[in-house]
C-alpha cells in the first residue's frame, strides 16, 4: 500500500466532483481519474487500478443505483480495492449490500464531505483496510424502535460504543471519540458481546458487518 492512495472519483455533478478532487489533491489523495457515470468509472478503474474508488450511488443514465452497480462490479474484480459510496440519503440496503461483499468499504452521506478532516480520516481508514458506515445510518439503525428490543439491555454508554463499532471504528478510535481509554472501550465491548449475540472478532470489517447486520435484523 503506497503512502498516497490513488483515487478514481465518479460523480455526475461536475461541481461537486471538482470540489472533491481538489480537496483530495490537497490532502495526499492523488486523483488519477474522474468519471461522470458508472460505465466510465469501471473502465477507468480497470485502467488505473487505484487504491481507492470514490463513487456517487446515483448517476446517469437512470439516476438510481449506477454507482452501486459499478461498485459491485469493481468489488468482484478487485477485492482489495477500497470503495467508498457516496449517497444523497441513507439507504441501509445499499450499505449492507456493499459491506457484505467484502472489506475496505465505506458508505457515506455526501454531506459528510464538508467535514473535511473526518472525511479524509474515513478515506484513510478505508484505504488501510477498514470499513466505514455513516453515523447517520448507524443512528437510524440504533434508533429504530423495536418491541422486546435487545438493545434495552445495554447501558447508554454501551449503546454509544455499539454505534461507534457499527461506524467502523476501532477500539482505539472509539476511545478517542469518547475520551476514554482503549481498555475501558474493551470492557464495554466485552459487556456488549456478552449481552448481544455478536461474534467476537479482531477483524475490523467483520465487526462492522456483524454489528450492522445485527442492528438491521434485530
Amino acid at each position: 500500500v503506497s503512502a498516497k492512495p490513488r483515487v478514481v472519483l465518479a460523480d455526475d455533478d461536475v461541481l461537486l466532483r471538482e470540489g472533491l478532487a481538489s480537496l483530495l489533491e490537497r490532502s495526499e489523495f492523488p486523483v488519477v481519474a474522474q468519471a461522470g457515470d458508472g460505465t466510465e468509472l469501471v473502465a477507468l478503474v480497470r485502467e488505473h487500478r487505484p487504491e481507492l474508488v470514490l463513487v456517487d450511488i446515483r448517476m446517469p443514465p437512470t439516476h438510481s443505483t449506477e454507482g452501486l452497480d459499478a461498485a459491485r462490479e469493481i468489488r468482484d474484480e478487485f477485492p482489495d480495492m477500497g470503495i467508498v459510496l457516496l449517497s444523497a440519503h441513507v439507504e441501509v440496503e445499499h450499505a449492507m449490500e456493499l459491506l457484505a461483499r467484502g472489506g475496505k468499504t465505506g458508505y457515506l452521506l455526501k454531506s459528510r464531505v464538508t467535514d473535511v478532516d473526518e472525511f479524509l480520516d474515513t478515506l484513510g481508514r478505508v484505504a488501510r483496510g477498514g470499513s466505514v458506515v455513516d453515523p447517520a445510518l448507524v443512528r437510524e439503525l440504533v434508533d429504530a424502535r423495536r418491541r422486546d428490543d435487545p438493545l434495552a439491555e445495554l447501558t447508554p454508554r454501551e449503546r454509544e460504543v455499539l454505534g461507534l463499532m457499527a461506524e467502523g471504528r476501532s477500539n482505539a478510535g472509539i476511545g478517542r471519540q469518547l475520551w476514554v481509554t482503549e481498555g475501558t472501550v474493551e470492557k464495554h465491548v466485552r459487556s456488549i458481546l456478552s449481552k448481544l449475540p455478536l461474534p467476537s472478532t479482531e477483524d475490523d470489517h467483520r465487526r462492522v458487518l456483524a454489528v450492522v447486520a445485527f442492528l438491521e435484523a434485530r
Partner: protein, 742 residues
C-alpha cells in the same frame, strides 16, 4: 217452460176436481136412489091403506045398498062401525044425507066417534067434502077428499062413496063417508120404519113432518085424487161421503208432488244445462279424468289449446302431454291425491299437437266415490315467459350492478337471449370506427360460423347499425335473424344479433331484446366510465408520483448536492487563506459547517418524499426502512414471491407509510403488524395496530389519497377500526391488472 211444469199439475188438479165432483155425484145419486126407494116403499104402504079405506068405503056402500027394509038404522051403523072399522083401526064413518034445498050434508048415521061423534053433523062444512060428494055422485067408485086439518087438530080425509039407503024398494040418496086419519095412512110407514119420516100430501094440508130435510117424493093416484108421498133425502154417509175428499186430498197431494217434482226436475235440467255451458264456454281448461289418469272429457278450451279433438284425447293419459322434465313433479303431486289430499295444485308444461309447450296451472280435485278427477287449468305461458324474461333481465342487471367485466355481462346476455327466445344462436358484436362489426362473444351455431373475433365487414347484413329483422322460409320453418342496436351515450356501440328457426318470432321480440341491449349498454357505459375513472386516477397518481420523484431528485441531487459543493468550495477557500487570518478561517469554517448542517436538514426533510430505494432495491428494503423509521415498533412480514411492477410497489409503500403515520399520530398504538403477501395474482397488504381504533375513513386526505391510488390500480382498500380494537387497513391490488394498466 213454466207451462211445462204447470201442465201436469193442472191435469192432476182437473182430474182431481172431476173425480171429486163425480164421486160426490155418485154419492148423491146413490142417496137419491135410496131415498126414492124409501119413498116408493112408503107409497106402497100408504097406497095399501088407501086401498083398504077404499074397500071399507065400498063395503059400507054395499051394506047401505044391500040392506033392505026398513033400512039401516043408526044402531046398525054404529055396530057396523065397531065391527068393521075398529079392527081396521079406523075411527069413524057416517052415512050422509043431503038436505034438500040446501048445501048441507047431514050425517044421518054416525059411528059416534070423533070426528063424527054426533049424528046430524053437517059434514058439508068439512073442507072439500062437498066437492068430493059431488065427484062421488058422478063417480062409480069412492073418492077422497083432500087431506085436511080438522077443527080438533087432527089431520085426515074422508073417503066418500055414493051410497043410497035402501028402505024396502025405496032408495034414499046419500053418501057413505069414511074418515081416514092421516096417522092411520102413515101407520105402516111408521111401523116399518123403512122410510123414516114420511110426509103425505093430498091437497090441503100435509101430514107427517120431514123437518128441514130435502124431500124426495113419489106420487100415486087413487080415489080420484093425487097423493104425494115425501121422504127426506138421506145424507151421503160412510165411505161414499169420504171418497170425494179422499180423491180431492190425494189429487192435491199428487199435484203438489207433481209441482215439486216438476220444479226439481226443471232445476236439474237447468243445472245440467248450466254445467254444460260452463264446461263448454269456460275459458278455463277443464279435463275430467279417471283415476287411471286417462282423459274422459276435455272441454273445448282445452281441445283448442292442445289442438286435439275430444275424441283424440279420450282414453289417453294426461301425462302423455306433459313435458318430460315436468312429469316427475306432476306425478309426485298427483300421488298426493291418492294419499288423500282434497285438492292439489301445480304447474307443468303441456305439449300441443304442433309440438309447442304451454305452461298450465292446474287445480285437481278428485271425486273418490266416482273414481274421477276434475282438473281445471289456466294457461300461464305468457306469465311464465314474462317471469322468465324478468328473471333473465334481473340476472343480467345484477351482473351489471355488481360491475363484473363487460365480457362476463356479454356472455350472460347471449346465453339468456338464446335461451329466452329459443334462439339457435346469439352474439354481441361491437362496431368498429370503419363500420365493420366484430363479434365479442357468441353462443350457438345458428347465427353463422361466428366466434369471438369474427368480423363482419361494413355493408354485411349483420353489420347493420339500425337494428333489423330478416325472415326467410326454410324447410324446417322460418329463420328469423334479429339485430338490436346497443346504444351507449347516444352512439351505436354494437349490436345483439339473434337467430332462431321455427315459428316467426313474435312482433315484440325487438322490444324485449332492446331491454337486454339496454343492459349491455349500461354495462359498457359503466365499464367505460370505470375505466376512465381508473385511468384518470392512475394519471393523477402517476403525475403526483412523478412530481415527488422529481422533487426528491431536485432536493438530493440539486439543492443538497449544491450545498455540499458550496461547503467544499468554502473549505477549499479556507485552506488557501494565510494562517494569520485565523478569525476569517474560523468564520468561513463555521459557514461551511452551517452549509453541511443545512444539507443534513434538507436530507432529513426530503426523506420519504419519494422512496428512491424502490427504484433499485424493491419493496422489501423500502418497507424495512419505513419500519425502522416508524415511531411505533413494527413487526414486518413480507412474503412476496415475485418482482412487482414499480407503480405497485410505490402504492404498497405509501399504503404502509400512511398507515404507520396514522398509527403513530392518531392510534396511540404500541405496535404495528405489517403483512405483505402475494396471493394468486393479488398483492395484499394488511397493516394492523393495537391502538385506540375508531378511525374515520373519511377523515383526512391521507386515506382518500391511498384509496385513489389503490383503486387506480383496480385494487380495493378496506379500513376496519372499531373503537378500542385497533385499526386494520387492508389493501388488495391485482398484480396482472396493474401490469396491464402500467
Amino acid at each position: 217452460m213454466l207451462s211445462r211444469q204447470i201442465a201436469p199439475i193442472g191435469l192432476v188438479l182437473a182430474m182431481t176436481v172431476a173425480g171429486f165432483v163425480l164421486a160426490r155425484a155418485l154419492g148423491e145419486r146413490d142417496v137419491e136412489r135410496a131415498s126414492k126407494h124409501r119413498a116408493d116403499v112408503a107409497v106402497a104402504e100408504i097406497r095399501g091403506r088407501v086401498a083398504q079405506g077404499s074397500d071399507l068405503a065400498e063395503s059400507l056402500r054395499g051394506f047401505m045398498v044391500d040392506h033392505v027394509s026398513p033400512g039401516v038404522t043408526n044402531g046398525q051403523f054404529v055396530d057396523i062401525g065397531s065391527r068393521w072399522l075398529a079392527p081396521a083401526g079406523l075411527p069413524a064413518a057416517a052415512w050422509v044425507k043431503r038436505v034438500p034445498g040446501s048445501t048441507r050434508l047431514r050425517a044421518t048415521l054416525a059411528t059416534r066417534v070423533p070426528p063424527i061423534a054426533v049424528p046430524g053433523l053437517d059434514l058439508g062444512a068439512a073442507p072439500s067434502f062437498s066437492e068430493a060428494a059431488a065427484r062421488a055422485a058422478r063417480h062409480p067408485g069412492p073418492v077422497a077428499t083432500r087431506l085436511e086439518r080438522l077443527g080438533d087438530g087432527t089431520r085426515g080425509l074422508y073417503i066418500v062413496a055414493a051410497a043410497p039407503r035402501r028402505t024396502g024398494r025405496k032408495l034414499e040418496p046419500g053418501l057413505v063417508a069414511l074418515f081416514v086419519p092421516a096417522s092411520w095412512l102413515l101407520e105402516p110407514t111408521r111401523k116399518s120404519r123403512s122410510s123414516g119420516a114420511v110426509e103425505l100430501r093430498a091437497g090441503g094440508a100435509a101430514a107427517g113432518n120431514l123437518g128441514h130435510a130435502t124431500p124426495v117424493g113419489s106420487t100415486f093416484s087413487a080415489l080420484g085424487r093425487r097423493f104425494q108421498v115425501l121422504v127426506p133425502k138421506g145424507a151421503v154417509r160412510g165411505p161414499a161421503a169420504l171418497l170425494p175428499w179422499i180423491i180431492l186430498g190425494a189429487g192435491l197431494v199428487l199435484s203438489a208432488l207433481a209441482g215439486v217434482l216438476g220444479v226439481s226436475a226443471a232445476r236439474r235440467v237447468r243445472a245440467q244445462r248450466d254445467a254444460d255451458r260452463i264446461f263448454n264456454l269456460a275459458p278455463e281448461l277443464i279435463a275430467v279424468a279417471g283415476f287411471d289418469g286417462c282423459f274422459r272429457r276435455a272441454n273445448p278450451a282445452l281441445q283448442a289449446l292442445l289442438g286435439y279433438s275430444e275424441a283424440e284425447l279420450i282414453g289417453r293419459p294426461l301425462l302423455d302431454f306433459v313435458h318430460a322434465d315436468d312429469r316427475a313433479r306432476t306425478e309426485e303431486r298427483t300421488r298426493a291425491l291418492r294419499d288423500g289430499a282434497a285438492q292439489v295444485a301445480f304447474e307443468n308444461r303441456n305439449a300441443s299437437k304442433d309440438g309447442a309447450y304451454r305452461w298450465l296451472e292446474w287445480t285437481v280435485t278428485p271425486v273418490r266415490d266416482e273414481q274421477i278427477i276434475y282438473a281445471v287449468a289456466r294457461d300461464v305461458t305468457e306469465r311464465k315467459s314474462l317471469a322468465d324474461e324478468q328473471a333473465a333481465l334481473r340476472r343480467v342487471a345484477t351482473l351489471v350492478a355488481r360491475g363484473v367485466s363487460p365480457a362476463e355481462t356479454f356472455a350472460a346476455v347471449v346465453e339468456e337471449v338464446a335461451r329466452l327466445f329459443g334462439a339457435g344462436g346469439a352474439v354481441v358484436a361491437r362496431f368498429e370506427p370503419d363500420g365493420a362489426a366484430t363479434v365479442i362473444v357468441g353462443v350457438g351455431q345458428d347465427v353463422g360460423e361466428v366466434t369471438a373475433g369474427t368480423r363482419w365487414e361494413p355493408g354485411d347484413p349483420m353489420a347493420e347499425p339500425a337494428g333489423f329483422r330478416r325472415e326467410e322460409r326454410r324447410p324446417h320453418g322460418t329463420r328469423s335473424v334479429i339485430g338490436s342496436p346497443i346504444m351507449v351515450e347516444g352512439r351505436v356501440w354494437g349490436t345483439i344479433v339473434m337467430s332462431a328457426t321455427g315459428d316467426p318470432l313474435p312482433p315484440d321480440t325487438e322490444r324485449r331484446m332492446a331491454s337486454f341491449a339496454g343492459l349491455v349498454a349500461t354495462a359498457v357505459a359503466n365499464a367505460e366510465s370505470r375505466a376512465e375513472l381508473t385511468a384518470s386516477r392512475a394519471r393523477v397518481v402517476t403525475a403526483a408520483d412523478e412530481t415527488r420523484r422529481r422533487i426528491e431528485r431536485d432536493l438530493h441531487d440539486g439543492a443538497q448536492q449544491q450545498l455540499v459543493s458550496l461547503g467544499l468550495g468554502l473549505r477549499a477557500a479556507v485552506e488557501k487563506l494565510p494562517p494569520e487570518l485565523a478569525e476569517v478561517r474560523e468564520e468561513l469554517s463555521a459557514t461551511a459547517r452551517g452549509l453541511a448542517a443545512s444539507a443534513e436538514e434538507l436530507r432529513e426533510l426530503s426523506r420519504g418524499i419519494h422512496p428512491a430505494i424502490l427504484s433499485a432495491g424493491g419493496l422489501a428494503p423500502a418497507l424495512k426502512t419505513l419500519a425502522r423509521r416508524s415511531a411505533v415498533p413494527v413487526q414486518l412480514t413480507i412474503s412476496v414471491d415475485r418482482p412487482l411492477p414499480e407503480h405497485l410497489e410505490v402504492a404498497a409503500y405509501y399504503v404502509v407509510s400512511e398507515a404507520l403515520t396514522n398509527a403513530a399520530k392518531h392510534a396511540h398504538a404500541s405496535e404495528v403488524t405489517i403483512n405483505v403477501a402475494t396471493e394468486d395474482s393479488t398483492i395484499v397488504l394488511v397493516v394492523r395496530d393495537d391502538g385506540v381504533g375508531g378511525a374515520d375513513p373519511e377523515r383526512g386526505s391521507g386515506l382518500t389519497g391511498l384509496r385513489d391510488r389503490v383503486e387506480a390500480l383496480g385494487g380495493t382498500l378496506a379500513l376496519t377500526s372499531a373503537a378500542g380494537e385497533g385499526t386494520s387497513l387492508r389493501a388488495a391490488i391485482p398484480i396482472d391488472e396493474a401490469e396491464g394498466l402500467a
